[in-house]
């Protein structure tokens, strides 16, 4: 199996005033192609810092980090932007869609930063991504005309559109109710079954059980790392939910 993400003895220190905060204290982590990894941990455990580094938004203080075979630890700001544009798709808790911009245009956005891409190809890919998340009939809608679940689907479409090697989701179900969370997880499982590698930060255990592996952080260390047994199927759980009659 090919390692998409390969991290070894990675440390990250922050300087807050005169105090040095050790956010990550030596992490070794590999994530392989086709995995669906949950990153768990309490606030301050270092999981957000980990995600920022995996997402090339931040750089480690020490250690190495390879994504898709490329060492990004020493890359400049612009080089990291390029990596984010070509290899990574982000999904955020609060969707982060551009307001007053149609769903389709939101999905096109990452491709706009790839200046070699023609407008026609951009449009085609965005339409495909919208179809992949089941929103083919909502392409012209503005974000404020969509429900929370639909907005998150648009955000997922946006993360897919550049065909990334890994999708990073940061509490992607945190703002959604249980039913919609399962809908979104079902979509992620579907994407994963088609071969997408996904790293998903969450602190909800039942969401984590939808994935293939969980990694638990505490105080800057990985304290537990295990394959998920009894993996949940979000689609079945959705059907099992009682139908609200109101």
């Amino acid at each position: 199996m090919k390692a998409i993400i390969d991290i070894s003895s990675l440390k990250k220190d922050y300087q807050v005033g005169e105090v040095t905060v050790h956010a990550l204290r030596g992490i070794d982590l590999s994530i392989y192609e086709g995995e669906f990894v949950a990153i768990m941990g309490a606030s301050g455990s270092g999981k957000s810092t980990m995600l920022n580094i995996i997402g090339c938004l931040d750089r480690p203080t020490e250690g190495t980090y390879h994504i898709d075979g490329v060492n990004v630890a020493d890359m400049s700001r612009n080089e990291r932007a390029m990596i984010r544009n070509r290899k990574i798709g982000f999904v955020f808790q609060s969707y982060n869609l551009l307001s007053r911009t149609s769903a389709l245009e939101n999905v096109e956005l990452p491709l706009m930063y790839n200046s070699r891409m023609k407008a026609r190809e951009r449009r085609e890919r965005a339409i495909n991504a919208m179809e992949a998340v089941g929103l083919a009939d909502r392409m012209g809608h503005m974000p404020n005309q969509l429900s929370g679940g639909q907005q998150q689907r648009v955000a997922i479409a946006r993360s897919l559109v550049n065909d990334p090697v890994v999708i990073l989701a940061d509490e992607a179900t945190g703002n959604l109710d249980t039913r919609t969370s399962y809908e979104i997880m079902s979509l992620f499982q579907e994407l994963n079954s088609k071969g997408k590698t996904i790293v998903f930060v969450t602190h909800e255990p039942d969401i984590a059980r939808c994935m293939t592996r969980s990694v638990v952080f505490r105080d800057g260390h990985i304290i537990r790392e295990e394959e998920v047994t009894n993996r949940l199927n979000a689609g079945e759980m959705l059907r099992a939910l009682p139908v609200e009659q109101d």
Binding site: L57, N78, F90, N96, L98, T101, M112, Y113, S115
Partner: protein, 406 residues
Amino acid sequence: MNLGNLLKVAINALKRNKMRSFLTMLGIIIGVASVITMLAIGQGSKKSIQDQIASMGSNMLFVMPANMRMGGVQQGNSSSQRLTVNDVNAIKADCDAVIAVSPEVRSSGQAVYGNSNWPTTIYGGNEQYLVIKSWTVVSGRNLTDSEARGSAKVCLIGRTVADELFGEGVDPTGETIRFKNIPFRIIGVLAEKGQNSFGQDQDDVLIAPYTTVQKRILAQTHIQSIQMSARSAEDSELAETQVEEALRRTHKLRESEDNDFEIRSQEELATTMTSVTEILTILLGAIAGISLLVGGIGIMNIMYVSVTERTREIGLRMSIGGRSIDILLQFLIESIMLSVFGGLIGIMLGFGASSIVEILTSWPISVMWSSAILAFVVCTVIGIFFGWYPARRASELDPIDALRYE
């Protein structure tokens, strides 16, 4: 991001806040419109002065007697009797840069015809006088050489005098009027010139042979000034030196002696006259320029607000691959668009305002295309200058902090 996409993003951002974009542009619109209008007013008055000076004569030079000091007493220059017809002849003979030369003598008095009378000035010149002073004859004929030298009692009449003595529009050619009790037969009527820049009515004149005015009216042998035309505007300076040499010779001035005459050219007069309006134009333009500056500060202010407001958007754009330069250009292009659109509207408004001022006040207005181009360039510069700092701040944001910004 390529330029096409950047432009699209900027237009969308401005469209999202139409009212705010418009109000921001308003500062630039008013600034540019006022710069253009003020410069048009200034340029218009300068041009009208230049036109009026051009109407005084063609490449004209004139010689006046200089102020003289007699035993410590400053004499007014009109009291000098140093210029004579000899000087005119010397210039005619020696100065090849001068194509026409005429003596000038003048006297004020009452012109009388029947029971009408009118106070006016009679100018004495030779047959070249009309050419030098850009006069044309609409009816009748010019003075002849023999009339000029033979003290003929003939004259040309200006439109104002003709109107006052004979009635509006009447052609008085062939009639005889009296000026200081001397009868003058009218041989021609001068074309209308209107007021000059001093507000003086240029048509309130009689033109007669200089010999007639010298002998029959003033009883003097000197002349008051010499009027000349240079071959061309470029030769004006050469003519001036030639005339100076000629006159110093005829006046038998020694090396150490100052000129007892002064040579002035129409060009110098034009420069002096327009310098005032130039200062005025600069002043008006500067005041309008300040409003343009204030407009630019308005843009900067709004761009700062916009950057703060869209911090999360900036964070998102960075996280999906926007480089610092992309973010910088996005905001810079937005501010340039604000100022350039504002500038274009301002240019149109300025042209409109100029014509309204022209209609309402009947001031001479001359809109300069160069000022429109200048305004356009200035607006682009303002957009870059005032957009730079907000855009730079946006581009230097940390994507992690920007994404978390509430």
